[in-house]
C-alpha cells in the first residue's frame, strides 16, 4: 500500500500531462505558495498611472473591466482548459477578427493598450488582460506589497 501511495500521485501527474492529445496541455496546477513574478509589480505601477485620474478610475480602467469579461466570458464548461482567458479578444484573427465582432465595439483602445503593454513587459496578452481587469476594481491604496 505504501508503494501505491507513492506511485499514485506520479501516475496522476502523467495522466494529466497526456490527457488532451492535440489540445493544449492542461494547466491546472495553481501554486498558491509561488511567489508573484516581479514583473507584475512594474505592471501594477504602470496601471496605477494609466487607470487613475485623481482618485477615480478612468475610461481605460472601465474598458479593462469590460475586456476581461469579453476575453474570458466566452468560455463554457464544454471547452475545458481551452478558450476563455486566452488573449483572443485582442489577438484572435481566425476564422474572424474577434475584436471586430459587434459585441466588442468600443474595446479597440483598451485592446491596443493591453497588446502593447504585454509586449513591453514580455507577458502574455491573456495574463495582461486578466491582471488589468482584476486590478481595475481594486480598492486598496498602493500598498507596495509584493504583488
Amino acid at each position: 500500500m505504501q508503494i501505491t501511495a507513492i506511485l499514485l500521485p506520479g501516475l496522476l501527474a502523467v495522466t494529466k500531462t497526456t490527457a488532451a492529445p492535440g489540445g493544449p496541455e492542461p494547466r491546472v496546477e495553481a501554486r498558491s505558495s509561488a511567489k508573484c513574478p516581479a514583473v507584475w509589480t512594474s505592471v501594477k505601477a504602470e496601471l496605477n498611472q494609466r487607470f487613475l485620474v485623481g482618485n477615480q478610475c478612468n475610461d481605460l480602467a472601465r474598458a479593462a473591466i469590460r475586456a476581461i469579461f469579453h476575453d474570458c466570458g466566452s468560455w463554457d464548461t464544454s471547452q475545458g482548459f481551452s478558450g476563455g482567458c486566452d488573449g483572443s479578444l485582442v489577438l484572435g484573427v481566425t476564422p474572424d477578427v474577434e475584436l471586430n465582432r459587434a459585441e466588442n465595439r468600443g474595446l479597440a483602445t483598451v485592446a491596443a493598450y493591453l497588446r502593447d503593454a504585454a509586449g513591453r513587459f514580455s507577458v502574455s496578452v491573456a495574463d495582461m488582460t486578466v491582471f488589468a481587469g482584476s486590478e481595475s476594481p481594486s480598492a486598496e491604496a498602493p500598498s507596495g506589497t509584493s504583488c
Partner: protein, 88 residues
C-alpha cells in the same frame, strides 16, 4: 502552469474588491467561438441557460446583472451614450 500573484491592489475604482489573480496563460490567435457572450437584448431564459453553461448559478447571474445598474453604455445605443443602464 498557474502561479499565484497579486494579492495587493491599486487604488483604482474606489470601493472595488481586492481580487487574487493567477498568472500563466498562453495566448492564441484563434478567435473565441461565436455566441459565447450574452447578447444585450437576450431574454432572461437565454441568459440563464448561457451562464449555466459557464458555471454560474441564477443568483450569481442576478448579481452580475445587478452590478450593471451602476454602469453606463456607450456603444449599443450611441444616441444615449454615457447614460445609466438602469432607467429606474
Amino acid at each position: 502552469m498557474l502561479t499565484r500573484p497579486p494579492d495587493a491592489a491599486i487604488l483604482l475604482c474606489p470601493g472595488g474588491p481586492k481580487v487574487k489573480t493567477f498568472i500563466g496563460r498562453t495566448d492564441t490567435t484563434v478567435s473565441a467561438r461565436p455566441g459565447g457572450l450574452p447578447d444585450v437584448f437576450d431574454s432572461a431564459a437565454n441568459l440563464a441557460a448561457l451562464f449555466a453553461r459557464k458555471g454560474y448559478s441564477q443568483a450569481e447571474l442576478a448579481a452580475l446583472l445587478g452590478a450593471h445598474s451602476t454602469s453606463t453604455q456607450a456603444f449599443v445605443d450611441p444616441a444615449q451614450a454615457n447614460k445609466s443602464q438602469d432607467s429606474t
